[in-house]
């Protein structure tokens, strides 16, 4: 069974209404701790078909073309409600032959030293998993689309444990590097996240200003992303969604030329000067909305059909401030250095809860660590109180890429 055979099979079952996706990937990974090291090599192959048979959507995935040919009739056997098919894109783009994947750099020793230095010996790097890989994708469909593209990654997860006076804290930090490894930045994140909760100080204020580290800001934006995927909730006022300095955009053009459905990647402005101005679409949501896909059909894996989602979403502003300027603007408040639990967000009910560790600040100066604090309230108020964004934009995997600089919120309540 070849790709051509599968195209013919799908063409027979769903004339004009099919899509075939193929991925082949190679990754090399080093998983290291003080006493153990694993070197892994993986070759992955994935095939996926999506088609509308008798007006109903079907999906099948497999690790090879023969297995996919068996999965297709199985998926067709189940009675599924009818749904109109999307407007399939049509374009062609060839892929240059890729190069082999080198092993990732061995950074355990370097990062261990950097963590020890950043934490003054209180934190220990317990494990580091670093992965380098490439994936080739090809998407064809019944409308004549035939695009191919390559992705490259260098990412990983670091595990760090800190101890002080019988107390302990363990943190796991995922990261992704677009260029050279940033060991010092990662070491500081690990050190702060592991050591700050070991202090015995609760939040000294019940309300005040709130400064978010880029990692915390990115988690916040990641949790808010569903606002840009569906109809906005009733509480959201489009013109005054956020503070007037706030912008949000999604632009994955530096990662890939096409999305997981073969639609060209483009920059999408979602929030401009605090007003909601855009929404993301994949092929299915675009059909329902009577519009065009914005190139946000995401395939986290070949095993699932494309899903509507952000690809590289980030805060931006026309008037950024240096981080030091935002810090000096705080008269009384908290700096959230790291989260201590995933952010909880009920967008329909307009509620959020963020648990974090950080530092208390008075008159622009750090006063001391805060082991743990919880900010909760209305999402609408949180967004409108964002009064400053800094220049230090950083991206984090979450699982889609989310970028944030230091974020200044003029008022928040803490527990």
């Amino acid at each position: 069974m070849t790709g051509d055979d599968l195209e013919a099979l799908l063409g027979q079952r769903a004339p004009g209404q099919w899509e075939l996706y193929r991925k082949s990937a190679e990754t090399r990974e080093i998983d290291a701790s003080a006493a153990f090291k694993r070197a892994a090599w993986r070759r992955e192959e994935g095939w996926a078909a999506r088609w509308w048979e008798a007006g109903a959507p079907r999906f099948a995935a497999a690790s090879g073309p023969d297995a996919l040919a068996l999965a297709v009739p199985e998926a067709a056997r189940i009675a599924v409600a009818t749904e109109a098919p999307p407007e399939w894109p049509s374009k062609t783009a060839a892929l240059a032959a890729g190069t082999a994947v080198d092993p990732p750099p061995e950074l355990f020793e370097d990062l261990s030293r950097a963590v020890a230095a950043a934490s003054r010996g209180e934190a220990v790097l317990a494990g580091l998993r670093l992965r380098r890989g490439r994936a080739d994708e090809r998407i064809v469909n019944a409308a004549g689309l035939d695009v191919a593209q390559e992705h490259r990654i260098l990412d990983g997860v670091a595990l760090c444990v800190a101890r002080r006076l019988g107390r302990a804290r363990e943190v796991r930090v995922p990261f992704r590097w677009d260029a050279e490894p940033e060991i010092e930045t990662l070491a500081r994140r690990l050190s702060d996240a592991a050591t700050l909760p070991l202090s015995d100080r609760p939040a000294p204020f019940s309300r005040g200003q709130w400064l978010l580290d880029p990692a915390v800001g990115a988690s916040l934006l990641g949790a808010l992303a569903p606002l840009f995927l569906d109809r906005p909730p009733k509480w959201l006022v489009r013109e005054k969604m956020a503070g007037p300095l706030v912008g949000v955009a999604d632009d994955a053009s530096r990662d890939a030329a096409f999305d997981g459905e073969g639609v060209a990647t483009r920059r999408m402005l979602l929030v401009e000067e605090g007003a909601l101005v855009g929404r993301l679409h994949d092929l299915s949501s675009a059909r329902r909305a009577g519009g065009l896909s914005t190139g946000h059909g995401v395939r986290p894996s070949f095993r699932v059909p494309p899903l509507l989602g952000p690809r590289r979403i980030f805060f931006e502003t026309k008037s950024p401030s240096p981080p030091a300027a935002l810090l000096s603007a705080i008269t009384k408040g908290l700096f959230a250095s790291a989260l201590t639990a995933p952010p909880r967000m009920d967008l329909a009910a307009n509620r959020y809860e963020i648990e974090f560790t950080g530092v208390s600040i008075v008159a622009g100066r750090a006063q001391g660590p805060v082991a743990g604090a919880r900010a909760r309230g209305r999402v609408s108020e949180l967004l409108r109180r964002i009064a400053g964004l800094s220049t230090d934009l950083q991206f984090f995997p979450s699982p889609f890429l989310v970028g944030s600089p230091t974020v200044y919120i003029e008022r928040a309540s803490f527990e």
Binding site: A40, W41, E44, A62, G64, A69, A71, A75, A81, V157
Partner: protein
């Protein structure tokens, strides 16, 4: 999987020349049917057929791992060849595949469409407005290890998760539902009973009052607590936890017996062979109130050998020591006596999920709703909340009053650690625990 085990053994033997060396090949053939249900209709049908093979070689503190797509003879050769190359051994001679063609395995889920019809009827009766995701998964796993006989195991699982609208006394209400069970003739009957109970009319909940509370963990949901505070800290590769420093120390009342038992095939986390080919044995996590043993795989086993808890999410991942089914022994207290002993507190029947931070032993469990108990009697309904505490104080706070009946916990299904998701299960009697932190969830 049509493997030539003798040949694979021959390829692996040179890699396992020293005592303690570990060389193995693992393969999986998986079929999964996934149905997205909305209000009585299947809106999307997805079928996945996947084969994968990996080879692993471990010597001392170093491990080489290679995984490839496919599970035929050619895939095994490719994985072993990569391993032997990394070990500096002669590569295998390249031959054409002689195994079964990829994807032609006799695996499948012919029951999927029958189950679909039956489930449609169950949903129509008990939860006509819903958004459920059903997964029917069948996997066949095979392990060939140097110096050990080859082993194979097949597992069939049914997993239903989602939300539905229940008509309650205070109007419509959105409720979550999760049910995970090994496929059997009785699985759909059990699901029907569970869904009917979940859809029963209830009063409008009031917010959970924050603070400390005594709680009864009922209907088997105590298994989720022990999964977090015992199984994870006692996984052999876990970091230093509060339990690690207390081998065989008394941490709970002597009535408490908690076992991790993968042999319970009626529970979601059961299996006959682990993913290293070892037959599992039950491991006492707490025995008569004393800290028990660790859950081990071959890479972390003492001289007595692996306990059969080497598990992986799939062939592309190496095995880790993981928990399977947490089973708590019954006591002798009936529910009325439990309520009387509780006095004032909360009654919880289900957890949506949990987590633990191993180093500090702090845990949190999210529940969708609870029931307030006043003077030993049920009072008002409480909304969603979070139960939080620390491992050792929580174990010490368990009362010597365990329920007479052990209930399977069907809401416990998938556990994620280090990026690997494996099926887990549990069963427990009702359990009374004092002074846990509680606060309302969003």
């Amino acid at each position: 999987m049509n493997w030539d085990d003798d040949s694979i053994h021959r390829w692996l033997e040179p890699l396992a020349g020293r005592e303690g060396d570990l060389a193995e090949v693992f393969g999986e053939t998986l079929t999964e049917t996934c149905l997205e249900w909305r209000d009585g209709e299947v809106r999307e049908a997805r079928v996945r057929r996947e084969q994968g093979t990996s080879a692993r070689w471990r010597r001392g503190g170093s491990e080489q791992f290679a995984s490839v797509a496919g599970s035929d003879d050619a895939a095994v050769r490719e994985a072993v060849r990569a391993l032997r190359a990394s070990a500096g051994r002669e590569p295998l001679p390249i031959r054409s595949s002689r195994g079964a063609p990829a994807g032609a395995a006799e695996i499948g889920f012919p029951a999927a469409d029958r189950a679909t019809k039956r489930l449609s009827a169950i949903f129509a009766r008990h939860a006509p407005r819903h958004a459920f995701t059903l997964r029917l998964r069948e996997s066949e796993r095979r392990v060939v290890s140097a110096g050990r006989p080859a082993s194979a195991a097949t597992r069939r699982l049914l997993s239903l998760e989602g939300r539905f609208t229940a008509a309650s006394r205070a109007g419509d209400e959105d409720r979550l539902f999760a049910f995970h069970v090994p496929v059997s003739d009785a699985a759909l009957d059990e699901l029907k009973t569970a869904l009917a109970a979940a859809a029963a009319p209830r009063d409008r909940p009031v917010p959970v009052p924050p603070g400390e509370a005594d709680a009864i963990l009922a209907k088997g949901c105590a298994a989720v607590l022990f999964h977090e505070i015992l199984a994870h800290p006692l996984e052999a590769d876990a970091g230093v936890s509060p339990l690690r420093c207390l081998p065989e120390a008394r941490v709970a009342v002597s009535d408490l017996e908690v076992v991790d038992d993968a042999r319970r095939l009626d529970l979601f986390g059961g299996y006959e062979r682990d993913d290293e080919g070892t037959a599992p044995r039950p491991v006492k996590l707490v025995a008569s109130g004393l800290v028990g043993s660790r859950l081990t795989d071959r890479g972390h086993a003492p001289a007595s050998g692996s306990t059969g808890h080497g598990r992986r999410s799939g062939p592309a991942e190496p095995p880790l020591p993981r928990g399977s089914n947490v089973v708590v022994s019954a006591g002798s207290t009936d529910p009325e006596e439990m309520l009387r002993r509780l006095g004032n507190g909360i009654w919880i029947e289900e957890f949506l999920g949990g987590s633990i931070e191993i180093a500090s032993g702090t845990f949190r469990l999210r529940f969708p709703r609870a029931r307030r108990v006043r003077r030993g009697r049920f009072a008002d309904e409480l909304g969603a909340g979070v139960l939080a505490g620390e491992l050792l104080p929580a174990l010490e706070a368990i009362e010597p009053a365990l329920g007479r009946e052990v209930h399977a916990c069907r809401s416990l299904g998938w556990c994620a650690r280090a990026g690997q998701v494996v099926p887990v299960g549990g069963a427990a009697p009702d359990l009374l625990i004092r002074r846990l932190g509680v606060r309302p969830d969003l």
